[in-house]
Symmetry: C2
Subunit: 469 residues, 2 copies
């Protein structure tokens, strides 16, 4: 399938908000507030009532119809009562609008399927592509184009980055954005899919597959709209960049709940699992897992194999990491005789402590400074039996100095994927931020780190199977 | 087994730090710093070098031997080189010390089993009970008695609360404390078990079973020291309060790593699983799960059945919660015809919105204020088919007001366990703190909330099977 050209939806030169309002608390006011906060394109307010709107310290005249706007309009963001939407679409068509983001609810999800069909019919007539209805619209974190009516004091926006996220649930999507923001996960574009009357998850996957600002595509999905289309698009896109899907409605009760939520036929989860497997889509079981996968793949290269070396200053964390990796199908790398010899020699010469264990997990012991970590990390990364390196740092030990940050930057020269785990509270968090600025993803718990390794190994396998790695 | 009387270890009237030092960075200095920070008992510094120590703005004369301390001493915290420890124990014996917390490493874990045996022999001779060696000692969050040498700027201490935690790994235990502190999880007592030359995990489980300040007992364990003893103690204690164990060394690689870490024979995990099942111990797979379980059980009553009602303002989160509960063996409660009728009537009368779904999950929709939540929660809690209530609040919607906090306080009058899920960032976090102050545990993700329900249901089952609920 050829990717639909949807750049106009994310990079409009000019936007009209239809149903714009001056009344705080109203959706049409909240959208004006969101769009005018960081977006530098032109924004026009439209409302049959006319008048003037003041948001974010700027004043906007209100046009009674989009047709009165004295400029071309690329995208119309529509927040008028559902029954008026088809006529508004006609006006948009006359105006030459390319895309309509329909925020309004009250269509298929409220039992009014015929109104939704009418919407689509009118849009098709004019060649307008539609997002929604019944959605939070799109947010482009790159240029600040943001249709989301949730106010920033309730729902933060993540920083600009490489992860694109789409959601069939608006409310849950908003919660995820808020969560991602507080975890400093960089996002490229967010799409609230809504009822998918026109554009669906496969269209956006195809578009994001071509989008050079997106490195990883993620999505919350209850049911795909067109199985065949999804299969074909996913299979192609995963050869270029990873797709991670959180599929809800896996159980009978979940599927029932999904049916009454989005009307999705959740279908047998087994069929989805098989489709994900065959198309190289990574399937996440939870929100946290989704972003554990995404962060790893956004920051590190996929792994060329499943043999993992662990360097840790705490034995217990090494044991837990070993369990986690084995339980998810990875292997502990068997270090080469040459590597063992390097450790032995350093211990003999007093460069490394006598009772450290250099069998994998490599335990540099609780009093390890960063220089000792660096020796162990180099030996592991230089070992041909090692595909991925996991570094566990228990920063509670005052022996571990901040030199570890620069060391992590140096370690990336080896070209092997690295995952960093730093459990704890405020101090490890601070160090985590600094290490991530150097390009290495850091996780708060051992189990999150296991997710990260899994994603790098699993996606690497897919690429290798298809001759792409 | 009769519980050992170990109050003197956690509530000493007077303590001697043997190996106390005035040199910042030394273990004997860090311990003096930790113990004198919040503890109001008497603290004496001991070091063969004599002199004076100044920590936390207080001055301490240094006695050359514990025998010179002009007072009775309940507990000696020992941080001298390993080879001197047996003789120090003798001096403690002569002084009449009841407990020795041996921080020093260099015993069995370093290949010196005979030195450890000598330590135990001397302690037995004098009737001294020993914690460690090779550990972080004990921390009593109630009175500030804290032997942990990790400085507070690196490792925060959790607030005082109901969860006791013991760890066979000192470093990982410290990371968990730090993590628990940043998640405001209240702890009663922390025990770093070390080599368990004398007191082991079963002794402390038995003690904590009698400790009225402890509501939930948790532990990180690689292998139990005495299987029979553990079995008997656990079986008895779980009838009084929950025990949650994170067992590491579950896989072959993990067991190998455990053997080289604590020398534990991790044993077949299947045997552990069976033992946990037969003794009512909840087995956690990860640090986060351990505390998801612990927080729920510390704050709520165990459930009388596995039928769960969900009230949510987001359909997607309801679908995910349904999946999570079903996948872990819980059921969605089938609401009674009476309850359905109450919802129908309210919808007809316009008290509840027309297109809300009142089949479980009960979807109060994105524009729900707290008053609408309250109606739905009451109907669910009053339904005899409901054993547990899960409330999901997507606070990103500005419609949801802060009245939900007080509402949660009122809901507890029904006597059924409640779990609250509030995914997102800063604002939901703030609300979570307020709701937890009212006694309802709040979780950041759906999957964490599933853990919480699982713990309440599973522990409830154990109590019912044994006629205790």
């Amino acid at each position: 399938m050829e990717a639909p050209r949807l750049d106009f939806l994310f990079y409009p030169r000019s936007v009209a908000v239809i149903g714009a309002s001056n009344v705080p608390g109203k959706v049409g006011n909240a959208i004006m507030r969101s769009i005018t906060l960081n977006f530098s394109g032109k924004v026009y307010a439209v409302n049959v009532k006319g008048g003037e709107i003041e948001v974010n310290g700027r004043k906007f005249p209100v046009y009674r119809s989009i047709k009165d706007v004295p400029d071309e309009v690329d995208v119309a963001v529509i927040a008028v009562p559902a029954k008026f939407v088809p006529d508004v679409i006609d006006e948009c068509g006359e105006k030459g609008v390319k895309g309509a983001v329909v925020i309004s609810a009250g269509f298929k999800e409220a039992g009014r399927a015929e109104l939704e069909e009418e919407l689509v019919k009118r849009a098709r007539k004019w060649g307008i592509r539609v997002v929604g209805p019944n959605c939070l619209g799109v947010t482009n974190l790159e240029n600040g184009f943001d249709c989301n009516f949730n106010p920033p004091e309730r729902q933060a926006r993540p920083p600009f980055g490489k992860v694109a996220f789409m959601s069939q649930s608006g409310a849950f999507g908003a919660a995820i954005l808020d969560w991602a923001a507080s975890h400093k996960i960089g996002m490229s574009k967010f799409i609230s899919l809504g009822n998918m009357a026109d554009l669906d998850e496969s269209d956006f996957i195809a578009y994001l597959g071509e989008d050079e600002k997106t490195g990883v595509i993620t999505g919350y999905i209850e049911g795909v709209k067109d199985g065949r289309k999804f299969f074909n698009v996913a299979k192609e896109v995963t050869l270029k960049k990873p797709i991670i899907i959180l599929k809800a409605g896996r159980t009978e009760a979940g599927a029932k709940a999904a049916a009454s939520h989005t009307g999705s036929l959740a279908g047998s989860y087994k069929i989805y699992e098989a489709a994900f497997e065959q198309t190289g889509v990574l399937s996440a079981k939870s929100m946290r897992q989704l972003f554990n996968y995404a962060k790893a793949l956004a920051m590190q290269k996929p792994a060329k194999g499943n043999r993992v070396a662990i360097v840790t200053n705490g034995g217990g964390a090494g044991v837990m990491m070993s369990d986690g990796l084995l339980e998810r199908g990875m292997k502990l790398a068997e270090l080469s005789e040459e590597t063992n010899e390097r450790f032995r020699k350093d211990i003999e010469e007093g460069k490394l402590p006598h009772h450290m264990s250099y069998r994998n997990p490599i335990d540099v012991i609780g009093d390890a400074p960063s220089s000792r970590y660096e020796i162990a990390m180099r030996y592991a990364l230089e070992d041909p039996n090692v595909d991925v390196l996991v570094v566990i740092a228990l920063f509670q030990s005052p022996a571990l100095d901040e030199g570890i940050v620069e060391a992590m930057e140096r370690m990336q020269a080896y070209g092997k994927p690295i995952v960093f785990v730093a459990p704890g509270g405020a101090y490890p968090h601070k160090m985590a931020r600094n290490i991530e600025l150097k390009g290495v993803p850091v996780y708060e718990t051992v189990e999150d780190g296991v997710d990260a390794v899994y994603a790098l190994v699993k996606y690497g396998e897919w690429l290798r199977e298809n001759g792409k790695l």
